[in-house]
Amino acid sequence: MMKILEVKNLTKKFPETTAVDGVSFSIDEGICFGLLGPNGAGKTTTIEIMEGIQDASSGDVFFRGNARTKAYHEKIGIQFQSTSLPQFLTVKETLQTFRMLYRIKSDLDWLIRVCHLDDILSRDNAKISGGQRQRLLIAMALANDPEIVFLDEPTTGLDPQARRNLWDIVSEIKSRNKTIVLTTHYMEEAQILCDIIGIMDHGKLIAMDRTGKLLGDYSDMATILLKDVCIEKMAGFASPHYIIEDTIEIQTADPDSCIKDLISRGVSLKGMTVRSMNLEDLFLKLTGKELRN
């Protein structure tokens, strides 16, 4: 598969911190690439450098093996996490305005259909819901029939139904062989939508692989969640465990032995949850902290 984007030794330094620290990776054409990490991990800075919004302190980004030119803006579509819409315009006018800024334009009817905008076309931008707004923002990102679509936390703040609607839209975009670069806080979202996942923390890329493989490496692992445990009783406990507020999360390959050990320590198993390991747990294992919102 051809590499559509290559990030080489990317570093971004601010006076007080290094936001991105020597990050390198490449993205194949037609896949959905997910970049995960907590706030401050450097993923938004990395994405903004890839989008051409910020300049890198060092390193570079290549589009189809070449340095990016002005024409790069014609090839990409961007959905920002937090941006307002032009005032006093309807949804359709906003979409038409952005389409007209590009040489290549997506079919308006297709945009309206795929982003489910039929019912709100004549509505003022200020009078649409959060989910409708996100759908419009994605439609704007697709206005130029881009080769790469950057989606920055597209479902943050949406209710579960609106989130699932958006996943359907992303799947539809994927089916048209578009390359998607997605950042998200939601592991479930990354698991469902992303083919490749990169995990960032403290400005570095700490893991990157196919979603299935990342999880597959830990497929025999289980996660045990216990509430209101006396911390002293966990002293010397063998399996990796993390305290998150009033919950202890234990990651183990042998849940039977682990539970026996807990009983022997007099730990109450009331309210215990045992489940297979997911990306959230993987993140915790790799970074030692939960994925913060």
Binding site: H73, L85, L89, Y102
Partner: protein, 343 residues
């Protein structure tokens, strides 16, 4: 390029006319101000000197003569008061210029009132021919320009100034702050195209609104333009462009609406005062008049008055036209150099 400029131009115009409160304010504010001044100053019976008289059952012999003579003098109004306290209060606060107490054959005048001083001379000479003997009569020819007609170009200019500076300045800063500019930045739209569309859109809207206001005010209050309407249009275009360019400079980098609002007020208020919108700077110190000429609004208002009131041509106001185009060019250059899409 022109397609993108046209797209932004159209969307910006839609924003303007759909923002109903702003739209109404833009049209009604100048008409309201001019209308108010028209009615305030159009009263033919306007009296220059107001002389209060305390009503009493007895009137002294000197007062009888003076009051009879004062009634015959033009531009003098006698205002009767039942209460001497109320009359004195009006005198203290310069609501009347002089107060006569017929019962005591006495008059009162405020030491700090200039009109009181003139009124005092008036009553001293009203029953004799001394005044006529001292003053020689001079007759001057020419049409008097009513204050409202003198003020009208100033009000239009002020409206254009607020529309340009706040319309462009605040909107750009708001768009920068809430990320709309950043969204445009990641499209092929060039900053030159974006700024051109903003300027053209605002210029178009300002010219349309100024023309409508001019037509409405002319019809309502029977104003006339002694000079050429085309000259007035060209001057207004140049003045509007210069004011917009000033707005662009202010809004080129700022991200705080509050700071922008403060800065714009800091620019607009001195400019309004020094540009002779409300009163003439004749008699003011030299540096004030020099400072005024550095401001685009002064050139716009002064030029418009010369065209409307005196029938001047563009050639006769060429120094103002050159100054306005110069300010526009410098403003656009600085504004586009400094312009920033994102925070």
């Amino acid at each position: 390029m022109w397609g993108r400029i046209w797209t932004i131009f159209v969307s910006r115009n839609k924003e303007f006319y759909r923002d109903k409160p702003t739209l109404i304010w833009n049209f009604l504010f100048p008409i309201f101000i001019i209308g108010s001044f028209f009615f305030m100053f159009s009263n033919d019976n306007q009296k220059l000197y107001k002389i209060g008289v305390i009503r009493s059952t007895y009137t002294g012999p000197k007062s009888v003569t003076i009051l009879e003579d004062l009634k015959k003098i033009k531009y003098t109004e006698l205002i009767w008061f039942d209460s001497p306290y109320e009359a004195e209060d009006k005198l203290v606060h310069h609501k009347i210029d002089l107060l006569i107490d017929p019962a005591g054959d006495a008059y009162f005048v405020s030491a700090s009132s200039a009109k009181g001083y003139i009124s005092e001379i008036l009553i001293k000479h009203t029953s004799s021919n001394e005044a006529a003997a001292i003053l020689s009569k001079n007759v001057i020819a020419g049409r008097e320009i009513p204050y409202v007609e003198w003020m009208f170009p100033g009000i239009i200019g002020m409206n254009l100034m607020f529309s340009a500076l706040f319309g462009v300045g605040i909107v750009l800063v708001r768009y920068r702050k809430n990320g709309v500019l950043k969204r445009f930045y990641v499209t092929p739209l060039h900053s030159f195209e974006f700024l051109s569309a903003q300027i053209l859109s605002r210029l178009f809207l300002m010219m349309v609104s100024a023309s409508i206001i001019f037509a409405v005010v002319s019809m309502l209050f029977n104003f006339e333009c002694k000079g050429s309407y085309l000259d007035l249009f060209v001057l207004t275009l140049a003045g509007s462009a210069s004011l917009i360019s000033l707005g662009l400079v202010v809004a080129s980098r700022l991200t705080s609406e509050e700071l922008t609002d403060g800065l714009l007020n800091l620019i607009t208020w001195p400019m309004m005062i020094l540009s002779e919108v409300w009163f003439s700077l004749e008699g003011s110190v030299e540096w004030v008049r020099v400072a005024a000429k550095a401001m685009p609004l002064w050139h716009l208002v002064d030029g418009a008055r010369k065209i409307m009131n005196d029938g001047a041509t563009l050639w006769e106001i060429r120094s103002s036209i050159v100054a306005l185009f110069g300010i526009t060019a410098v403003g656009l250059f600085i504004g586009s150099i400094l312009f920033k899409w994102k925070e």
